[in-house]
Symmetry: C2
Subunit: 315 residues, 2 copies
């Protein structure tokens, strides 16, 4: 097992702590603000028993997992001996440049330096660094201890060995790495999410459907198969001859739709007025946090279900 | 309970038979080809015990559900006394026009005439009919006995009462109706699916990701939350201040992506070559049917999980 250093302990950093410690790694945690570390450890102490109750700790007692997390007294101490550094500071490109320059200066020469950023290209924060070849993005979907997918995105100068080591580390920790060949805005996950949301906002803005209609179409419809197959396997099984047969039968439907999708919707404009009014009627703002806790319980139950279904029904 | 007439007993029609009979309705089934009815009933006899094993038959024995399905000797007999007619013939607009003209002539004057079409606008097959006001689309995602979402799409002349009665019928049968205000190519479901697939084919075609990367991004990532919340509730809970806060924080990411999505990909061209080569390596063509059976078992297990999680964790 390796030593992992987590730099920045907000929502994403604390979730990585659970994921890496569960996988058996020593996890050193560091944040400029000591109270962020307190909050993170408080969170970890609450979530580990929940994961155990859903059989999502590989059979190890919560305290044993917890014992592999160490609060570091300084950034240097956190980095000392770490083979993988996961950075989770706020999404600001100038700040990330400064952080990565410092990480590159202080970390072991062999360590991989990974950012959790969802929006900043790896080239933007690693350009010109002496160790630019070991810098990359490893972008999780929160929380990574329940959502396996992680995007690994190299800059043009990232060493393929750093990519491979990161993918191996994550895969062994139960993650499902998506290894991109090169960087692009939005990576894979947010490009797919953005394409769907863009059409969703357009349908609501043009008055064809409500926000709830869109949510029903996905949560009581498309996302059921997507949640265990993904969209390509879904269409591969939706025509007798597989995915090409599907495209030959149905592509003309999508061709007809395409021209009407070539128009950006302002997500903060009238479409948002409609979506927000509807959402706040269904869920008042003061209940957002309570609903987020419900979401986490549902996500945990779903992770437990998928694990069991994968074992019983086979893959 | 009502009498439902199913006209056309292919994959979609036979699945509707299960859904409507489970809800307590008398279901008259009719197809021009008697062997289609035999196949459909054979399928029903196999699937009902599976549904019972997953506690998805409302506690009623399979034989009791089955006893409400009747093979009609003629179209007239199927329609006699039916208050809802669900048409499931092949996706050909001329054929649908002929079928709907006949249904309109033969069905009880009060009956709603609904098509399961995924691709034909309701105005295209109901224009000019005496009973055009009772014609609409009720498009399920297959199989409707496991996937609750159904799109109800009116033509410009559809009577709002026909829409309301169809929504009530489906909701009482455990469906989640999406009631569109007016027709548009692709309705809601295929427009959302098309937007996602278009970006997926573009990412593969441009060499940024493999088809499996896309499937992992969705099945091990985005679709987990989508499968019980939908995309709008997902982003509503992804920023402290709700959906508007989310758009204000992250819309600029999606704005940057948008221009690069304004280009159609030929789903049958080089992008398909890549997707198909990959899919056929993972799953040879001769195992497609076996995998579709696996998908149906997973879908059934997921439906059972969602029912249980909804009850235990609350909604």
């Amino acid at each position: 097992m390796s030593k992992i250093a987590l730099v920045g302990l907000g929502l994403v950093g604390r979730a990585w702590a659970v994921s890496f410690a569960r996988a058996g790694h020593e996890v050193a945690i560091w944040d400029e603000r000591p109270e962020s570390i307190d909050d993170a450890l408080g969170f970890v102490n609450r979530v580990l028993p929940d994961l155990d109750a859903h059989d999502l700790l590989r059979g190890e007692p919560p305290l044993s997992v917890r014992s592999r997390m160490r609060r570091a007294g300084s950034l240097e101490e956190a980095l000392d001996g770490a083979s993988h550094v996961q950075e989770n500071t706020p999404e600001d490109v100038e700040a990330k440049r400064r952080v990565f320059a410092e990480l590159d200066r202080l970390a072991d020469p062999e360590a991989v330096l990974a950012s959790s950023t969802s929006a900043i290209l790896p080239s933007a924060f690693s350009r010109g660094l002496k160790g630019c070849g070991r810098c990359l993005v490893a972008h999780p979907i929160n929380p990574p201890y329940l959502v396996p997918s992680v995007e690994i995105v190299p800059a043009p100068w990232t060493d393929p060995d750093a990519v491979r080591r990161t993918a191996d580390l994550l895969e062994a920790a139960g993650h499902a790495p998506i290894v991109m060949t090169r960087e692009i805005d939005g990576f894979v996950v947010n490009r797919l999410q953005g394409a769907l949301l863009e059409e969703a906002f357009r349908l609501v803005g043009d008055g064809f459907a409500s926000a709830e209609d869109v949510d029903v179409a996905i949560r009581e419809g498309l996302a059921l198969r997507w949640s265990f197959m993904g969209p390509f396997e879904t269409i591969d099984l939706n025509a007798p001859g597989g995915v090409r047969d599907y495209a030959e039968r149905y592509q003309r439907i999508y061709e007809r739709i395409f021209p009407s999708t070539q128009r950006r919707v302002d997500w903060s404009g009238p479409a948002m007025d409609a979506v927000e009014a509807e959402r706040r009627t269904r869920l008042p703002a003061e209940r957002l946090a309570e609903r987020a806790a419900w979401r986490d319980r549902r996500l945990m139950a779903l992770a437990a279900h998928k694990k069991k279904a994968g074992e019983e029904i086979g893959e």
